[in-house]
C-alpha cells in the first residue's frame, strides 16, 4: 500500500473501516479484464494497474471529502461504477485510489414528468424495468443493461432505439458533479432547487463539462447523481421469457413489432431510412450485419466458427437485411398505419418482409455487449460515430478496406463494413465498426490498427467517436476544431490543477504510444513529453 497510513486513516474516517481496503486480494478484484472490451490490447497491458486502495463512499458529501483528501495529499484517483469500459475505466498509475461508487444506489422516479433520479450504482436493467412498468422506456446503450446508467449517459448511450432521440446528452437533466478538486457543482434545475427535472443551465450550460461526443472516462470529475429523461412508451407489457442466458422479451405485436426486410441493395436500405423519416414513422431502423445473425444463432464459440466459416465476401456483400421497429405509441391503429406506410416504402424499393420473431433479444432489454467476446476473447469498437447516413456508409466501407491489411491478427470478417442506422429521424446516421482478436496472440497490430483508424479519419475528414481520451490527444487535437485539445487541457487544468483525477487521462493514449515500443514507429505527430507516474 503506497497510500500512507496517515492518509488511509483520514479516508477511513470518511467512510468507516468496512468501506475501504488496501488488501491486495480486494484490490486484485479490480484488475482490468479478463475478457471483453479492449481485453488483452496493448493499452490494457501497458496502461492499467491494480489499484493501491479501494474506497466505497455512500453519499455525495463523502465523495467530495475523499476527492479533497486526494488533492491535499496528491493521491491519484479514478471513479468507478460498473467498469464496463474495460481498460480505460481502471487505474492507470500505480497506487491509485479507486473510488467505487456501487454503494450509491438511490433511485427515484417521477412518472408524471418522465424522469428517474439515479446514483452511479444504478444499472440500466433496474432502470428499464421500473420505467417499463410505468409506460416509459429508456435507451439502453451498447454497453448493456449491466452497466451503470450514469456512466453510460456521460460516456456513450445509444442504440437502435435512438431513432427518435439520438444524443443521450439531451436526456441528461439535473446532475450533481464533484469536480476534480472536490468542489460540487449542481447542474440544471438542481443549481437553484431540489427538483432535478430540468437539464439546461442558468445561462451557459455546464453540462458541456460532462462529456464530449463520447465520454471523458472520469477525468473531469465524478457524477454522483443524475436525473435522466425517460421516454413515453405504449401500455402493453413486454413479457420476459426463456432461461438465462437465452432470454427474450415477448412483444405485444398489436403495439410493438420488429420486422426484418430483405432489400435489393445497400442503397435501397439507405433510401428506406430516409423515406421512413420523411413519413415520420418508426421507432428504430438499422442495417443487420450477417455477423449479428451468426452470433444470435450460435450457442457456443465452436458453433459460431462453424457457422461463420460458411460465409464469404460474396455472401456478406449481398446480404441486405433491414430491421425496423414499429411502436404504436398512440394506439394499435398507429402501428397498423405505420405498417401500411412501411410496406409501401419497402415495396417501392423492391424489398420484401422476412419472417421475424415477435420478440426482442437485444435492444429493449440488454443491448448485446455480453456476447461480443464469445468468438475471440477480445474486442473493441474502433468507431461508433453519429453523423449522417451519408457519412455512415462510406465510413464503414473505409474501415473495412483499412482493416484488410491488419487481418490477422484481427478476426477475418470477409470485408464486413460494420452497420449503419438512422438516428433522430435520419437527421443523423450512425455507423459502428467492431474488431475482434485473440488476446493470447500478439496484438501489436491490433494496437496499430486502432491508431491507424484515427489517422484515416483525419485524412479522409470523417468525424469519429474516438476523440479526447480515446486516441492520442495530440494526434487528434490539431485536426478537430481545430485544436480542441488546447481547450480540453485548459479546462482540465482549471479544475484539476494537481492532475489527480484519473491521470494521465485525457493524455493516456499519448502516454501509451510513448511507452509501448511497438507503437513508436507510428508516431508522426508532435507532442510534448507526457509525464507518467510509474
Amino acid at each position: 500500500m503506497a497510500i500512507s497510513q496517515e492518509t488511509y486513516q483520514v479516508l477511513e474516517s470518511i467512510v468507516g473501516p468496512e468501506y475501504i481496503s488496501a488488501n491486495p486480494v480486494i484490490c486484485e478484484g479490480y484488475r482490468a479484464g479478463p475478457g471483453g472490451y479492449e481485453c488483452g490490447s496493448g493499452y490494457e497491458r501497458v496502461m492499467t494497474k491494480v489499484p493501491g486502495c479501494v474506497i466505497m463512499p455512500r453519499t455525495t458529501e463523502e465523495v467530495q471529502k475523499i476527492v479533497k483528501v486526494c488533492n491535499r495529499y496528491k493521491i491519484p484517483y479514478v471513479p468507478y461504477s460498473t467498469g464496463f469500459y474495460g481498460a480505460r475505466s481502471h487505474p492507470h498509475v500505480s497506487d491509485e485510489l479507486l473510488i467505487d461508487l456501487k454503494r450509491m444506489n438511490d433511485f427515484e422516479l417521477d412518472e408524471k414528468h418522465l424522469y428517474a433520479v439515479v446514483e452511479p450504482g444504478i444499472i440500466y436493467s433496474q432502470l428499464q424495468e421500473e420505467a417499463m412498468r410505468r409506460g416509459m422506456y429508456i435507451v439502453v446503450g451498447g454497453g448493456g443493461s449491466q452497466v451503470s446508467a450514469i456512466a453510460n449517459m456521460i460516456g456513450d448511450g445509444w442504440s437502435p432505439l435512438s431513432y427518435r432521440i439520438g444524443l443521450p446528452h439531451r436526456r441528461i437533466l439535473g446532475t450533481e458533479l464533484v469536480l476534480p478538486d472536490g468542489e460540487l457543482v449542481k447542474l440544471g434545475s438542481l443549481a437553484l432547487q431540489g427538483d432535478p427535472f430540468w437539464g439546461e443551465g442558468l445561462g451557459p450550460d455546464l453540462r458541456g463539462l460532462l462529456r464530449g461526443f463520447t465520454g471523458l472516462r472520469g477525468c473531469l470529475g465524478i457524477v454522483t447523481k443524475m436525473a435522466i429523461k425517460l421516454l413515453p412508451f405504449q401500455p402493453e407489457r413486454l413479457e420476459p421469457t426463456g432461461i438465462s442466458p437465452h432470454t427474450t422479451l415477448q412483444l405485444p405485436t398489436n403495439r410493438v413489432k420488429w420486422i426484418n426486410f430483405s432489400m435489393p441493395s445497400k442503397d435501397a436500405m439507405k433510401e428506406a431510412m430516409y423515406e421512413m423519416s420523411k413519413a415520420e414513422i418508426g421507432a428504430g431502423v438499422t442495417k443487420v450485419p450477417i455477423f449479428w445473425r451468426v452470433i444470435a444463432k450460435a450457442k457456443s464459440k465452436e458453433e459460431f466458427w462453424k457457422l461463420w466459416s460458411k460465409e464469404n465476401e460474396e455472401t456478406l456483400s449481398s446480404f441486405h437485411v433491414l430491421r425496423v421497429l414499429l411502436i404504436g405509441f398512440a394506439s394499435e391503429e398507429q402501428l397498423e398505419y405505420e405498417e401500411r406506410v412501411l410496406t409501401d416504402i419497402i415495396t417501392e424499393l423492391g424489398g420484401e418482409a422476412r419472417r421475424t420473431r415477435p420478440s426482442d433479444e437485444s435492444w429493449f432489454k440488454n443491448a448485446d455487449a455480453a456476447g461480443m467476446w464469445l468468438m475471440c476473447g477480445g474486442y473493441v469498437s474502433v468507431d461508433y460515430v453519429i453523423e449522417t447516413i451519408e457519412h455512415a456508409i462510406p465510413h464503414g466501407e473505409n474501415y473495412a478496406q483499412l482493416k484488410k491489411s491488419f487481418t490477422p491478427p484481427l478476426m477475418p470478417d470477409y470485408g464486413d463494413p460494420g452497420w449503419f442506422q438512422s438516428f433522430e429521424l435520419s437527421h443523423q446516421g450512425y455507423s459502428e465498426f467492431l474488431v475482434y482478436w485473440d488476446p493470447d496472440e500478439n496484438t501489436d497490430r491490433v494496437d496499430h490498427f486502432y491508431l491507424e483508424t484515427s489517422k484515416e479519419n483525419i485524412r479522409k475528414r470523417f468525424y469519429t467517436s474516438l476523440l479526447g481520451p480515446h486516441q492520442p490527444l495530440y494526434l487528434t487535437g490539431p485536426a478537430y476544431g481545430p485544436n480542441y485539445h488546447k481547450w480540453l487541457l485548459a479546462v482540465k487544468g482549471e479544475f484539476d490543477p494537481n492532475f489527480v483525477c484519473h491521470p494521465p487521462v485525457p493524455l493516456a493514449h499519448d502516454a501509451f504510444v510513448e511507452q509501448a515500443e511497438w507503437m513508436k514507429p507510428l508516431k508522426d505527430w508532435e507532442s510534448p513529453k507526457i509525464r507518467q507516474k510509474k
Partner: protein, 483 residues
C-alpha cells in the same frame, strides 16, 4: 483603435457617430441605456477574428449583436466597447434537403429562413411568432422554446462555428473535421470534439464567443393539417389532459394562450377587433395541430383524431375540442400559417400592439404548478395596481408536457414613466417571489442574473472558472450574467 477597426471592416461598415451609437444603446427591454464606443459590421469570420484580437490587445469589450431587434437588453453595452453587428453575415449557406439540415450565418432572420424553406416544402420548428428580424441562430442559442412538441429530439441546433473570445476560430461537433464543409461530415452532430463546447455557448448572451454560423435541423411541411381548439375554463383539467395526450406523439404544435395574447395575435383591424376579441375569447384557449405527413396523410390524420377523441370521450369529457373555437369561425385557417411563420414585418409586433411595449417574465416549470404561479402573479400585479385582465399569458408545453415554458406579458406605454416604473417594480417583485416558489429561470437577462447567480453560487463559481479559460481578459459582453 478606430483606425484599426476602419482598416478591418472598411469605412462603410464602421460607425462612431452619436446617432448610430445611440441606436445600440437601448432596445425594447427596460434595461438601462449603455452607449458603445464603436459599431462595426464584419462580413465574415476573418473580420470577426481580427476585431476580437484587436479588442484583446486593448482590453476593450465586444458585444455581439445578430438580430435587427432586441427584447432583453443583452446587447446593450454595459461597459462600452465595440458592437459587433453581424447583420451583414446573413447568408443561408446550405440547404441539405436529404439530411434535413440548413447551415446559416448568424445574421439570418426568421423572415429569411421561413421564406426560403417554405419554397422548398420545408419548415423549421419555430418559437411562437418570433419577430421577423430576430436572428434564427441567436434565438436557438438563447433557447427559445418551440411550439412544436412532436419531435423527441427537440432542439434543432447542430454544429456551429465560433470565434472564441481569444480570437481563435473553432468548429463544434462533427463540423470540427478538417476542411469542413468540404468533407463527408455534414455537421449533423452538435457534440464534441472532446467537450460539449456547444453547451457553453447556449444561453450565454454572447459572453462565451461569437457564433458565426450554425447548422440547424429542418422538417418537411406536412401534407395535411388540422387545427383543433378548446376553450379553457379549468386550466388544471386541461393540463391534466395534456399530460395524457402529449405522450402519444401525435400532436405537432400545442400551446395555451390567454385571451389578451390570443386577441393580440388574431386582431386584424386593431381598433375594431382587439377589445371585442379579448372580451369574447375564453380566459385561455388550447390550440392543437395534428398533421398528416408524406404518406397516406388522410389515414394518419384519421388515426390521430380518433385516438385524441377516444381519450376525450373516455377520460376527459370536459375538454370541448373542436375544429373551431365557438364564436370564432375561420380561426383555424387563420392561425395555422401564423404558427409556422414569424410575425409579419408590416404589422407592429404582437407583443407591442396593445400598448407599444411589453416586458415578459418567463421561466420553466412543471405544468402542474402553472396555476399556482398564475395566481401568484395576479396577486402581485393587483398590489401594483396593474389590471389582472391586462396580463398576457402563454403556456408552452415541452417534451411531452413533462415541463412547460410559462410566460407573463406586462404591457405598458413606453412614453409613460409611471407605467414604465410600475412594470419594472412589478416584474422585479414577481421574479423574486416566483423564484422563491420554485420557478426555474434559465435565461438570466438583466436584473435576473444577479438574483439567480446569488442563489446558485456553486454554479456561478464554476461558470466563472470556465469563462476564464475561454475569455481570460473578460472582453465578451462583460456586465452580463455573472461576469
Amino acid at each position: 483603435m478606430k483606425e484599426k477597426l476602419l482598416e478591418i471592416v472598411g469605412s462603410e461598415n464602421f460607425f462612431d457617430d452619436p446617432e448610430a451609437l445611440a441606436k445600440y444603446s437601448k432596445d425594447f427591454s427596460l434595461a438601462p441605456r449603455g452607449v458603445p464606443n464603436y459599431v462595426v459590421k464584419p462580413k465574415d469570420n476573418q473580420e470577426v477574428q481580427r476585431v476580437i484580437k484587436l479588442a484583446n490587445e486593448h482590453l476593450t469589450p465586444v458585444v455581439p449583436s445578430s438580430s435587427g431587434v432586441h427584447f432583453q437588453g443583452a446587447t446593450i453595452p454595459k461597459q462600452g466597447g465595440i458592437i459587433l453587428d453581424l447583420t451583414r453575415m446573413n447568408q443561408i449557406l446550405e440547404v441539405d434537403e436529404l439530411n434535413r439540415r440548413v447551415r446559416m450565418e448568424a445574421g439570418v432572420t426568421w423572415e429569411q429562413i421561413a421564406s426560403e424553406l417554405g419554397k422548398r416544402g420545408f419548415r423549421m420548428i419555430i418559437p411562437l411568432l418570433p419577430h421577423p428580424l430576430r436572428s434564427v441562430v441567436t434565438d436557438w442559442l438563447e433557447r427559445e422554446v418551440p411550439t412544436n412538441t412532436v419531435y423527441d429530439y427537440g432542439e434543432p441546433l447542430q454544429s456551429m462555428e465560433v470565434v472564441w473570445p481569444t480570437g481563435e476560430i473553432f468548429r463544434t461537433g462533427s463540423a470540427s473535421v478538417t476542411g469542413y464543409p468540404d468533407s463527408p461530415s455534414k455537421g449533423a452532430n452538435p457534440s464534441g470534439p472532446g467537450l460539449d463546447f456547444y453547451r457553453f455557448l447556449q444561453g450565454a448572451q454572447g459572453t462565451m464567443g461569437v457564433v458565426t454560423w450554425a447548422n440547424l435541423k429542418i422538417e418537411y411541411l406536412p401534407k395535411i393539417d388540422k387545427v383543433l381548439f378548446a376553450p379553457v375554463h379549468d386550466l388544471n383539467y386541461t393540463i391534466d389532459f395534456l399530460y395524457r395526450v402529449l405522450r402519444l406523439r401525435i400532436i405537432q404544435e400545442c400551446l395555451l394562450l390567454n385571451n389578451i395574447n390570443l386577441a393580440s395575435i388574431i386582431a386584424e383591424d386593431w381598433r375594431k377587433d382587439f377589445e371585442k376579441l379579448r372580451a369574447s375569447l375564453p380566459p385561455w384557449t388550447l390550440i392543437l395541430v395534428i398533421s398528416g405527413m408524406h404518406r397516406r396523410p388522410e389515414e394518419q390524420i384519421q388515426y390521430e383524431e380518433e385516438t385524441l377523441y377516444k381519450v376525450i370521450k373516455n377520460e376527459f369529457p370536459g375538454i370541448p375540442l373542436a375544429d373551431n373555437l365557438p364564436g370564432f369561425p375561420g380561426l383555424g385557417k387563420k392561425l395555422l400559417p401564423m404558427l409556422r411563420k414569424p410575425w409579419p414585418k408590416e404589422v407592429t409586433y404582437w407583443k407591442n400592439r396593445y400598448k407599444g411595449a411589453c416586458h415578459s417574465l418567463f421561466f420553466i416549470t412543471k405544468p402542474i404548478l402553472a396555476s399556482k404561479f398564475i395566481n401568484k402573479v395576479e396577486e402581485i400585479a393587483a398590489r401594483y395596481g396593474y389590471p389582472i385582465s391586462d396580463i398576457g399569458g402563454y403556456l408552452q408545453p415541452i417534451e411531452h408536457n413533462r415541463a412547460c415554458h410559462l410566460e407573463f406579458n406586462f404591457f405598458y406605454n413606453p412614453a409613460s414613466q409611471p407605467e414604465v416604473e410600475r412594470v419594472r417594480s412589478l416584474y422585479s417583485e414577481a421574479a423574486s417571489v416566483l423564484l422563491d416558489k420554485g420557478a426555474l429561470f434559465t435565461r438570466p437577462y438583466g436584473e435576473l442574473a444577479k438574483l439567480l447567480y446569488d442563489r446558485a453560487a456553486g454554479y456561478a463559481m464554476t461558470l466563472r472558472r470556465v469563462k476564464k479559460v475561454f475569455d481570460p481578459n473578460n472582453i465578451m459582453n462583460p456586465g452580463n450574467l455573472c461576469f
